[in-house]
Amino acid sequence: MKTKKKTGDIVTLIVLILLSVVVILPVLFMVTHSFMSDHELNASYGKILTSSKNDEDDAPIEIDAHLIPQEPSLKGYWDVFLATPDYLGKFWLSLGLCAAITAGQTLLACLGGYGFAKFKYPGKNLLFALMVLLMMLPLQVTLVPNYIVLDKLGMIGSYSAIILPGICSAFGVFLLTQTFRSIPDSVLEAARLDGANQFKTLLLVVIPQAKAGIASLVILNFIDTWNMVEQPLVFLKDRLKYPLSIFLSQIKNADLSRAFVCGILAMLPVLLLFLHFKDALMTGIENSALK
């Protein structure tokens, strides 16, 4: 009986390790390749990535995929981080958009979540149900209404066209309502008896108690904004204005080492956030389940 359990454990471990390798492989691949020289990348993948622009070149037909750099080089990093400002410019632009949306959305969600979780008023449940429905709608439905409003406001083509609808998305209100509900009413009652007004109660009692939930909203929202594709594609007509998330797929891969390092640049903020707030993210995912 015991040996049977042991074999089961070993099999489980092997399966899990194999699956993890498959899942992580793309990231590993990008990281090691960002340290390869242009020459090595061209020789290995030129046929695929630089299309058939220069057929007279002696790029081999066979591609040669390998993980360990044979000609280690930091030229890609030099190009992206120091030699040309373009990539870092995009990076800061994306970061700015994310910061604006996440900050606005969190503020709105704290207020709304408090109202929905801790008060009663006629029609509240109906309005909350509406929020949940909106949250579930795919972008393909909401982009059209958004576009109509933004067009009327004359915002199409500007960054506010991305920021404003992002701030008003229903997800944050939903998530924080779920979180605030778990704070016992007696705590709020105590604050009120101490003479705190509603804003003070929210700021000094509710928010500190819900730190984990708010952190999870911040990280989920940041990630979603950092990775956005549809909104800039539709709301920003000018390709030059695209944030990093789309810009990358538009670089024609003439300079391979640069392209790989840009990939690293794009995953850096979310990677750091993820490693730092992993637990908050997991809580956020669990809380996003309707209970």
Partner: protein
């Protein structure tokens, strides 16, 4: 008495004021414009006031582009949903054997969720291109190389969807598995039930309400696969993955508002029906749960496995209580 009522009204008003900014935001960007979208979808053209009834809907439903997009989207639904549910449940069950020890794997599985696809797009190009790694392996195995960026792109999209979203579902399934009371398994073990019996008689029925929600989330996430499709294959991909999102996107490019409005209304209807169906079922069962479902899952298990063992029965009692709390 009077004072109490006015206090209550005051509290209602405060609550309403707190939710007001969020409500105004959603009203301005979603609800009101959605009304405009609906009204556009029954007009003759953008500027005209002429009401044409469902003519636009008929036109869109009959257009080849929309039919192709709808067909592909439903096909993707049909294949991807069972795949992701089974895969993520299996992984969750494996992880659940020893959550503490396998914590690191959970981290790995969630990671793709946060990763921008564009940052790893080069990897996927190298793997799936005609001369790429995958075809190289296939040929070495003596199999035929396939056109992964063309007619087989569907499978690439499926792999990307699973790669990206399985972790999310695993976390939700783990939470679900955690909510199943341990006493049930202990009772079953005492009675000599094997793992298959435990899985089908205890685990699956107990996590059914969660599963339904996970299904809803998976559907919501399916619509996000457009990102992957766009970044990997551009705005005019192979016919096999031309989806409803491409249809919308291309109509944005042509500024065809009428078709866009109709498309948005149709997608909304389908989502509304699907989610309503899934969550509505939940409501029904939720109402019946305290009467029907609880005795069915918990005490069926009791009858089958415990046969009057008092300790186990106590466990089931608390299990039933938890089951009720779960709704």
């Amino acid at each position: 008495m009077k004072r109490r009522i006015s206090l209550r009204t005051k509290s209602s008003l405060t609550g309403f004021l707190f939710t007001l900014p969020a409500l105004l935001g959603t009203a301005a960007f979603f609800v009101v414009p959605f009304g405009i979208t609906l009204s556009l979808s029954v007009r003759e053209s953008m500027g005209s006031e002429k009401f044409v009834g469902l003519k636009n809907y008929r036109d869109v439903l009959n257009s080849a582009a929309f039919r192709l997009a709808a067909k592909n989207t439903f096909k993707f639904f049909g294949v991807a949903l069972p795949c992701i549910l089974i895969l993520s449940l299996l992984i969750a069950l494996l992880l659940f054997r020893n959550l503490k020890k396998y914590d690191i794997f959970c981290t790995f599985f969630v990671f793709p969720l946060v990763l921008p696809v564009s940052s790893v797009v080069l990897f996927f190009q190298i793997v799936f291109s005609d001369l790429g790694v995958l075809n190289g392996i296939l040929e070495r195995l003596g199999l035929h190389a396939a056109d992964w960026t063309g007619e087989q792109a569907f499978w690439v999209l499926l792999i990307l969807y699973l790669w990206k979203n399985t972790g999310y579902n695993v976390v939700l399934f783990l939470a679900a598995l955690n909510s199943v009371p341990k006493e049930l398994y202990e009772a079953a073990s005492l009675d000599g039930a094997g793992w298959w019996k435990k899985l089908t008689r205890i685990t699956l029925p107990m996590i059914a309400p969660h599963t339904r929600f996970i299904l809803v989330i998976s559907i919501v996430n399916l619509f996000k696969s457009f990102r992957e499709a766009y970044i990997l294959f551009g705005d005019h991909p192979d016919q096999s993955i031309y989806m409803i999102q491409h249809f919308m996107n291309n109509n944005f490019a042509n500024l065809n508002y009428i078709r866009l409005s109709v498309g948005a209304a149709l997608v909304f209807l389908v989502i509304f029906a699907l989610v309503g169906l899934l969550l509505g079922l939940r409501e029904d069962e939720g109402n019946a749960a305290s009467l029907k479902m609880k005795p069915c899952t918990a005490s069926c298990a009791a009858r089958n496995f415990t046969k009057g063992k008092k300790q186990a029965a106590d466990g089931l009692e608390s299990a039933a209580a938890k089951g009720r709390g779960m709704k």
